[in-house]
C-alpha cells in the first residue's frame, strides 16, 4: 500500500526531500521555521478565532487560509473555517493513510472543564498557535502535503458532509494495520539509536519543563514580596520632607521592575512552556511510529519464517504476501529515515528559536529594570548638585 501511494504521488519522498532541503543559512530564517527555497508552493495559516454558540454546544472555529500553485488544488486560494474536531479528523486520516510517516502532533484534545477556561483568550491563543504549527508542518511535508485528506481539509466548505460523521470516534493509534502477535528479532542499530535518543530527549524535556515551572513559581513569590517592599518606601516617604522624592523614586522603580518581571513570567508561560510540551507529544508520536516500524518488521520476519518452513516441506514458491511485507518494511525504513532527518533539523531550529526567545525575554526584563534605576540616579544626583550649589551660595 505504501509503495502504491509513492507511485501515485508526484514526487517520491527522497527526491522531494532534496528539493525542499531546508536552508542551512539558519541565521536568516530563525523566525520563519519552515521557510525553504523558492520551491515551496503551498502556504497555510490558522488565525482569527471566533466563538460559535448553538443550541447544542459552544465551540471555537479558526480561519484556515491557503495559497497554492499546485494543480492538485482547483483554486489558487482558499479560506475555510475549521474547529478542533476537524483538525483531529485530519490527523487521524493522515495517520491511517500514511502509517509509515511521522504525523505532527496536535495540542491536547481534552481539557478539564472547570480547571481550564476553554474560551479564555490565552487558551484559545495558545491552541491556535499549536494548530497553526501542526498544519504548517503537514503542508511542509513532502509526502503528507499531497494527501487528499489534507486537500479536503483545506478546500471544502463544509467538512462535516464530506466526513460523513457527526460523531468522531478516535481510532487508537496504529493498531489497525499491524498483524498481532509477531515478535521482533533484531532491530537495526539505527532505529535502536533513534529510540534511545527519543527516550533521553523526552526525559530532558520533562526536566526542563519542571525547572521552568519552578522558576515561574519562585518568581511569583518573589514578585509578591517585591510589591510589598515597594510600598514600604512609599509609606516611608509620607513622613519625610527632603527624602520624600528619593523614597518615592525608589518605590516607583521597584514597581517598574515588578511590571517587567510580570511580563517576562507571562511570556514564559504562554510562549515557552506550550512549545516544550508540544515537543513531548511529538516525541510520543515518533515513538509510536518506531513501534509500528518494529511491528511491520516483526510481521515480515514472522511470515518469512513460516514461508521458509513451508517451502522446505512442500517446495511452494515464496508467497506474494511475504514479498509485500518485505516491501512494506523497506518503505517504512526509508520513509522513517528521511522523516527522522527532517525532524532533527526542524527540532534544531525550533529549540534554537525557543531558547534564544527565553534569553531575549530575560535580557529584555533586565534592560527595563536598568533603565528605571538609571533614571532614578539622574533624578537623585541632580538634586544633590542643586543642594551643593545652594550651600556654597
Amino acid at each position: 500500500m505504501a509503495r502504491q501511494l509513492r507511485l501515485s504521488s508526484p514526487a517520491s519522498a527522497s527526491s522531494l526531500f532534496n528539493r525542499l532541503q531546508l536552508d542551512d543559512d539558519l541565521e536568516a530564517d530563525v523566525r520563519d521555521l519552515y521557510a525553504s527555497t523558492e520551491t515551496r508552493d503551498l502556504f497555510v495559516t490558522v488565525d482569527d478565532p471566533k466563538k460559535h454558540v448553538s443550541t447544542m454546544e459552544t465551540y471555537i472555529t479558526y480561519r484556515v487560509s491557503t495559497k497554492t500553485t499546485r494543480i492538485e488544488f482547483d483554486l489558487p486560494e482558499y479560506c475555510v473555517r475549521r474547529r478542533y474536531q476537524d483538525f483531529d479528523w485530519l490527523r487521524i486520516k493522515l495517520e491511517d493513510s500514511q502509517p509509515t510517516h511521522l504525523i505532527p502532533p496536535l495540542p491536547e484534545k481534552f481539557v478539564m472543564k472547570g480547571v481550564v477556561d476553554r474560551f479564555s483568550e490565552e487558551f484559545v491563543e495558545t491552541r491556535m498557535k499549536a494548530l497553526d504549527k501542526f498544519l504548517k508542518r503537514v503542508a511542509d511535508h513532502p509526502v503528507l502535503s499531497f494527501n487528499p485528506h489534507l486537500n479536503a481539509f483545506l478546500s471544502v466548505k463544509d467538512l462535516n458532509k464530506r466526513q460523513g460523521l457527526a460523531l468522531l470516534t478516535k481510532v487508537g493509534e496504529s493498531v489497525k494495520h499491524v498483524a498481532g502477535g509477531y515478535k521482533l528479532r533484531a532491530r537495526p542499530a539505527e532505529f535502536c539509536a533513534m529510540g534511545e535518543y527519543l527516550d533521553t530527549f523526552s526525559q530532558k524535556l520533562g526536566t526542563i519543563d519542571r525547572i521552568a515551572q519552578r522558576i515561574l513559581k519562585e518568581q511569583s513569590e518573589y514578585l509578591t514580596e517585591l510589591r510589598e517592599y515597594g510600598t514600604v518606601y512609599s509609606s516611608w516617604a509620607t513622613s519625610e520632607e527632603e527624602l520624600q522624592r528619593p523614597l518615592e523614586g525608589v518605590a516607583s522603580c521597584v514597581k517598574t521592575c515588578c511590571g517587567a518581571l510580570e511580563d517576562q513570567s507571562e511570556s514564559m508561560s504562554q510562549d515557552f512552556l506550550p512549545v516544550l510540551r508540544e515537543y513531548v507529544l511529538y516525541i510520543e508520536s515518533m515513538k509510536n511510529v518506531l513501534r509500528k516500524r518494529d511491528q511491520t518488521q516483526a510481521e515480515y520476519e514472522g511470515r518469512l519464517e513460516a514461508a521458509i518452513l513451508r517451502k522446505q516441506e512442500d517446495r511452494t514458491p515464496m508467497p506474494v504476501e511475504v514479498e509485500k511485507c518485505q516491501d512494506k518494511v523497506e518503505c517504512f525504513n526509508a520513509d522513517l529515515k528521511a522523516d527522522w532527518e527532517r525532524w532533527q533539523s526542524n527540532k534544531r531550529q525550533d529549540f534554537k528559536q525557543l531558547l534564544t526567545g527565553m534569553a531575549d525575554r530575560n535580557i529584555n526584563h533586565y534592560e527595563k529594570c536598568q533603565a528605571a534605576w538609571e533614571s532614578l540616579i539622574t533624578l537623585l544626583q541632580d538634586k544633590q548638585t542643586e543642594d551643593k550649589t545652594s550651600e556654597t551660595n
Binding site: Y222, E225, E242, K352, Y366, L376, I377
Partner: protein, 429 residues
C-alpha cells in the same frame, strides 16, 4: 555649612590601607563642624578583628571577638610622615559601655548607634551566628563607623572618656565607672515618665518623638521586607542552576546542538552563582538602614528627655511642697483612669511613686535649682543637635538610596551579560 577640601581629607576612606566603612563616604558631608573635633587631630580606624578565649565574670570559659583600634596623630599623616599607629584591643561590650556613658552624660545629644549586637533581619542564607566571619567583618566596619561619627561630633568628640577609650587599653573601665554616670542615669525618673505623660510638653519635642517612632517603624519594615525579597530572589537565581545540569546532560545526546547547549549550561551555572555576591553587597545597604533604625532610638531618647526633665521638675516641686495629693490629681486629670489597663498601671505606678518619693525628698531643694538650669540649657542644646541629626540623616540616606540604585543597575548589567552570553551559545546550536 561650608565644606572645604581639607575636611574631605580627614575621612579615612582616602587611606588605602584601611577598608573603608560604607558609612565613611557619607561622613564626608556630615563631619564638618565648627570647632576642632577629635577626628581632625587624630586618625582613627578599626583595623582588625580577632578571636580570643578567656574566663568570664562567672569563671566560665568563653570565646569572644576583639577589635583592634588604631590611631595616629593627624598632623603626622598630613605631613606625609608614616608613623606606626598606636593600637589597642577592645571588645564589643566595651563599646557598649562607652556608648551608655555618652548617652547618660549627654542626654541632649543624639548619640550615634553601635552595629547590632546580634544579627537580625537575616534572610535564610546569612548566618545569625555572631562568630560568622561575614558578621564579624560587618561589625568591624560598623564599629569604625561609630567611632568616626562620635569623634567628629562637635560635642561628643571633646569627651575625655572617649579619648581614653581610644588611647588607654588598661584601666579604662575603672575610669568610666568612677565617673558615677550610672547613678546619673536616673532610670527611676525614666520609668515613671514612661507611665505618666506630662502636661504641655514642648511641641517641637513631641513632633521629634513622633518622627522618631515613624523612622523606627519604617526602617524596620524596610529591613524585614528587604530580607524577604532577598530570600526569594536567591531562590529564583539558584533554580536556574538546574538548567546548567540538564543542558549538559542533553548536550551529550546531540550532535550539532551539543556544543552550544553545553556552553549555555555553563552560563546558567554562572548566573545561579552570581546571586551570592549580589546579596552580599546588598548587606552594606541593609547596614546603612540599620544604623538609622538604631539612630531612631537615640533620637527618641533625646526627644523624651525634655518632657522628662519638666516632669522631674514638676515632681520635685510637688515633693518639696509635700503636695502629693495635688500631684496625684494632676496625673488623674490626664484622663488615664478612664481606661482599665492604665488604671492598673496607675495603681502600680503610685506604689512606685511613693517609694521614689521618699528617695527624692532626701535630695533637697538644691537639686531643684540645679535641675531647672540644666533643663533650660539642655532643651536648647537638644534642639540644635536634633537639627544637626536631621541634616545628616537626609544626606546619608539619600546617598544610601543612590548606592542602592547603583547596586541594582550592576545586578541588571550582570544579568544582561550572562543571558547575552547564553543567547550567543543558543544561536550557535
Amino acid at each position: 555649612m561650608a565644606e572645604d577640601g581639607k575636611e574631605e581629607s580627614v575621612a579615612t576612606d582616602d587611606e588605602s590601607d584601611h577598608t573603608a566603612a560604607d558609612g565613611t563616604g557619607s561622613l564626608n558631608n556630615t563631619m564638618v563642624e565648627e570647632g576642632s573635633t577629635l577626628l581632625r587631630r587624630m586618625e582613627i580606624c578599626v583595623a582588625e578583628a580577632e578571636k580570643r578565649s578567656g574566663k568570664n565574670a562567672v569563671n566560665m570559659q568563653e570565646t569572644f571577638t576583639v577589635y583592634l583600634i588604631e590611631t595616629r596623630p593627624m598632623d603626622a599623616v598630613v605631613e606625609g610622615r608614616n608613623p606606626a599607629p598606636d593600637a589597642l584591643w577592645r571588645r564589643y561590650s566595651e563599646f557598649e559601655l562607652l556608648r551608655n556613658y555618652l548617652i547618660v552624660t549627654y542626654p541632649y545629644i543624639v548619640v550615634p548607634p553601635l552595629p547590632e549586637k546580634r544579627a537580625e533581619f537575616v534572610w535564610h542564607k546569612l548566618s545569625a551566628d555572631n562568630m560568622d566571619p561575614d558578621f564579624v567583618e560587618r561589625r568591624r566596619v560598623g564599629l569604625e563607623n561609630f567611632l568616626l561619627r562620635v569623634a567628629s561630633h562637635p560635642v561628643l568628640s571633646n569627651d575625655q572618656i572617649l579619648y581614653h577609650f581610644l588611647t588607654e587599653e588598661h584601666g579604662w573601665k575603672e575610669v568610666v565607672y568612677e565617673t558615677g554616670f550610672q547613678a546619673k542615669a536616673d532610670s527611676r525618673l525614666r520609668a515613671l515618665s514612661a507611665t505618666f505623660r506630662v502636661r504641655n510638653p514642648d511641641k517641637r519635642f513631641m513632633e521629634m518623638k513622633h518622627y522618631s517612632d515613624e523612622l523606627q517603624s519604617h526602617t524596620s519594615q524596610l529591613l524585614r521586607a528587604r530580607a524577604r525579597v532577598a530570600d526569594r530572589l536567591y531562590g529564583v537565581y539558584k533554580v536556574h542552576g538546574n538548567y546548567g545540569r540538564v543542558f549538559s546532560e542533553w548536550s551529550a545526546i546531540e550532535k550539532e546542538m551539543g556544543d552550544g547547549l553545553q556552553s549555555a549550561g555553563h552560563h546558567m551555572d554562572a548566573y545561579a552563582a552570581s546571586i551570592d555576591d549580589i546579596l552580599e553587597e546588598e548587606e552594606h545597604y541593609a547596614d546603612q538602614m540599620k544604623e538609622y533604625l538604631f539612630y531612631a532610638e537615640a533620637l527618641r531618647l533625646v526627644s523624651e528627655h525634655e518632657p522628662m526633665m519638666i516632669f522631674s521638675l514638676l515632681w520635685q516641686s510637688s515633693v518639696q511642697k509635700h503636695e502629693l495629693t495635688q500631684f496625684e490629681l494632676e496625673m488623674a486629670s490626664q484622663d488615664l483612669i478612664s481606661k482599665k489597663q492604665q488604671r492598673e498601671e496607675l495603681a502600680t505606678g503610685i506604689v512606685r511613686t511613693l517609694k521614689l518619693l521618699e528617695e527624692l525628698i532626701a535630695e533637697g531643694e538644691e537639686t531643684v535649682k540645679e535641675k531647672t538650669l540644666e533643663c533650660e540649657e539642655h532643651v536648647e542644646k537638644a534642639w540644635v543637635d536634633m537639627q544637626r541629626f536631621k541634616e545628616q540623616k537626609d544626606k546619608d540616606l539619600r546617598e544610601a538610596l543612590i548606592n542602592y540604585a547603583v547596586m541594582q543597575i550592576s545586578m541588571c548589567k550582570k544579568g544582561i551579560q550572562v543571558w547575552g552570553n547564553a543567547k550567543e551559545c543558543f544561536l550557535k546550536m
